[in-house]
Symmetry: D2
Subunit: 341 residues, 4 copies
């Protein structure tokens, strides 16, 4: 940690501050300029509360050298996190490493027929997971809020029929008991900094698909992962789903450069949601291909058997046929990256 | 609602779509251009799911003429929402209208002495409410998370001592039972779209201070209010606390123009949080004054008896003395706006 | 154009406004709601000044159905713009269509040896164009401002040696006479809305590489192209180079979804600058691959023989060896898209 | 300047880098952590090219302690820049200090009658300067581009009639000769980083009103001012006019907190443009008042005698009557700040 003192703060005052900091277990180096002293803190600076330092009247600026996350940090865990889950037909699904995982399904579960039919279709085309929302976070209280517990039951039926493990979103901790048979719990973008929720998920034993908040930095995403990992759950899949921007040609800006950046800083797998990122079905294939090229470990994509009748997000859903074509194409791109779908 | 059809869609196809829409109770007007038909929907279009319309293969664009919120909408409730709460020393606190309300206190409750002393100080200077966090949303799991239930007890003690009603943040629905004696429940920026939480608050009988999410639009803020109001709770105080921007001279960009915009579109009172907006104590007075000038109905401001020792956000906290001076100044500005502090 | 009138504006007043608009050659359809009238304008609405309409006291909102650009608009020019330029060794360089063009070279020309050596290197690896800055837009007046006219001479020498056509940035119209032998004139992001410059370039007969401004929308980029095309110059290469965002892990957010969006709305070729977009050499390969996958027609990439000694932007420059490897990889990705480098 | 070396870089390698840096006249302090060395540079670090340092393979991060601007920096010029210009009726106009200056007039000059009448009106209400565009930067090549040289003549006639000094925008250096009698030259937001233009203005002897670019940081604004000041021209008025944001309730986000921030970092006067910031006439008064409260030294506001017929930006123009009322109000706010209009 680097602490830049204000212009004119003298060696004596600086010494008092340094002594205080050293009581917290770090050592403090001095770099004395013409009219400004800079302190360099050496040791485990995660114990230092930088807010307290910032609020000190001698201090102009504080800069952290070390990242604020540990368990999610590649420095301390150089090897990629790779984990396996049981998939359809007795196969293992590998997440991370040389595997490219495809999660597909409708925005929300609407009926037994709908989810069953889509599940069968996406399985045939090679999806590893079935997605589908039972509890839906909607910006309007007057929009369809999902089928709730019944939707979850229908998802589990589709799982039984196809063998596809399921990914679905948890909106509040009280729903957790209903998620017993869910395979991967999704945290939505709007809940990425719902710290109460993250803490509870840290104590559960299921993999978490953690979506980046719509204006959250890479560091904030990793800190959200850290919350879960601090509780003991280290099976986390990070998900880039577009951030809020100033243009309106698409719903969000898909930030693909965050993939190599996350890979450098963290060992966690990273997937991309091209459906929510753009909000437009016709853009999904281009962005799915680009995600592979940028180094993603998978995608989560919305597929609906009748997008024009979808109760939510039909505009961004592709049909099972389009999904089948997309999978063909993605296999070629994955091969170039040395990955297997 | 205006529906622009794709280039080349003919009158017949358009007619089928229009007939379907009319089944939902609206009437549809046609405006036929050289190569593009535009449909104008008349009637109660809130029943129309625009996602379904957008996903229709004939449709290029959908534009809502009506706002998606009703209860929060000034069109349907032309008069300002004004409500009263019991304040210190038997006085009534008025929120909205010609009243300018000041909520002050530390970022988090740290000890009995701290909160009592600050409570006494801010009361003396004229604050109407005491604020203080017991449950704190922190970006790092390793930061101080607040004193929890005990912090709440200390807040309530300070309330007993001073008579100041209290405002404090609820982070999850399970905490609600602890909030029995809390006067105003705060929803933090990161929870503005925690819809599960909003629904529960809609059923509670306490005023809600609803902070704008860090990258949420004015409409999204009003839709979050609508969630609460749809549940039957219409005592909501909106709060602008800065939005995320591209610069780093301060923590956020304080968006003061949203005040007149909110006032035009909604009847709800609007306050400003200059402390979180800037993250810098020395900017608080300028932004507090500007908030009044822009038409705010109040401010919520962080005051700490020893900012250099604050366990959180010390850098943005002003001292009780600075707060006292600020109140002097704010009274003059409020007077120009015909408001009373 | 759709004009939503204010609540309560009556049929008579609306009729007067409609009559005025019809004098400008359009016809006006009425859609009359319970308390709001909507006007639909049919015909060539590009003649209508929407600012004047917006300022009308009866008007609440104005929405354009048609795009404001014509010459850059795919609706009026359905076929891709493809053009050819003479390349090295008597070959033709094709821009657009099934060609993927690579423009490579240093941020700025620093010496004869530097530019000659880099030119030879990038040619060997298959670059179609040599880039290099002679006049440099720098945020600090104290930074190296480029070698100016002499730098241009060195670029032209390198062109003579290698046969590579050159791309270089023009910063003001007075420099134009020096650009006689330049093959493609670059307009920098900071000049994308320097309309005086765009007008002059509309009258010149050289292809223009037009970079997207750092916070400009897709429509604004196309309007900047329209400025040039309105002057008669229709050989324009659009360039996405990252937009300003709220995060700081990289210099900008590379907005790859704008590629399919631009391709849908316009017939102009689109390339990507992964060097400026990220500011980090190690991210360039991932983003270059992703650009192809997203549908780009080329890239412009910074290559320096000694990035650690580069006078500008060394951090984002790759070495000739890394460039050679990158070209190998890109050929495989281009092949998947049916494109030839 | 602080240089954080990569993990594992040893003392010997670090020493070589330090020696190289010391050749440039600074001294280098070492702070050696468990696995990371940090270098602290002492002395005049403005001579160090941080891009070169960043590109060094040993370096992880570079952080400047000193601001990159000197002439615009309050550290080196602690006193406010205040300057005077001859105003109407033999009075002096003071810019900066305890003066609040109002610049008013139409977006663009449209006719002799229009500009004369508005000039007389704004003078009567107390404006110090007349504004009006002759050369207009428009996003569409098909929009009214201003009256050009003739518009300038009409502005100068209005100046003769009223005595009001004029402020008008220069779009390219070739127009400079026409600006002989212009009192203050405006640089538009889109030209804030047109460095060729800034350099020329550095050599001219007229005050410059420099508008902040639509996604430019505070530091970039001060660096643009530094360009002009480096040329010898130190009479600069900074102007906040809103930055690009993600919401669309108004045209831009007016960033009023940048006023105290600029005042802390720089000695230059700062004014606000509430008209362009919001794009909505009805928001102008609230934002003008807030600008004073936030510490601005003036405003530039659009006034049009017939906003509904304005050839540009009518929606954001207030009428002369509204301007007169606004001036009444602003005088009271200015008084609270110890300023005189």
């Amino acid at each position: 940690m680097i602490i830049v003192l204000k212009n004119g703060v003298g060696r004596t005052e600086a010494g008092v501050l340094a002594a205080e900091l050293e009581k917290q277990g770090v050592t403090v180096d001095f770099s004395e300029g013409a009219n400004q002293i800079v302190l360099g803190l050496v040791g485990d600076t995660t114990v230092i509360n930088d807010e307290v330092v910032r609020a000190n009247r001698l201090v102009e600026k504080v800069m952290r050298v070390q990242e604020p996350y540990k368990r999610a940090n590649r420095k301390f865990h150089p090897k990629d996190t790779i984990f396996e889950l049981p998939g359809a037909d007795g196969k293992k699904i590998r997440i991370g490493g040389d595997s490219f995982v495809v999660i597909a399904g409708p925005c929300s579960v609407e009926s037994r027929e709908q989810i069953s039919s889509i599940a069968a279709d996406v399985k045939k085309s090679g999806a590893a997971f079935l997605r589908g929302g039972a509890f839906k976070p909607r910006t309007s209280p007057y929009s369809f809020q999902g089928m709730g517990g019944h939707g979850l039951d229908l998802l589990l039926e589709a799982k039984k029929e196809t063998g596809l493990p399921i990914v679905t979103e948890l909106m509040e901790t009280s729903q957790l008991e209903l998620f017993e048979e869910v395979d991967v719990i999704q945290v939505g973008a709007r809940n990425m900094q719902n710290f109460a929720l993250l803490k509870v998920l840290g104590r559960c034993r299921k993999p978490i698909l953690l979506k980046r908040g719509m204006a959250c930095t890479m560091t904030e995403l990793l800190m959200a992962a850290e919350y879960i990992m601090a509780g003991g759950n280290d099976r986390i899949i990070l998900c880039e789903r577009g951030v809020r921007g100033f243009d309106n040609y698409a719903r969000n800006i898909l930030d693909l450069a965050v993939i190599p950046a996350l890979k450098q800083k963290s060992h966690l797998p990273v997937i991309v949601d091209p459906s929510h990122a753009t909000g437009l079905a016709w853009m999904v294939p281009a962005m799915a291909k680009a995600a592979i090229a940028a180094g993603a470990d998978g995608i989560i994509v919305e597929v609906h058997n009748n997008p024009e009748r979808a109760l939510c997000d039909g505009e961004q859903s592709i049909t099972p046929d389009a999904f089948s074509d997309l999978m063909e194409t993605l296999r070629k791109y994955a091969a170039l990256e040395g990955k297997v779908i």
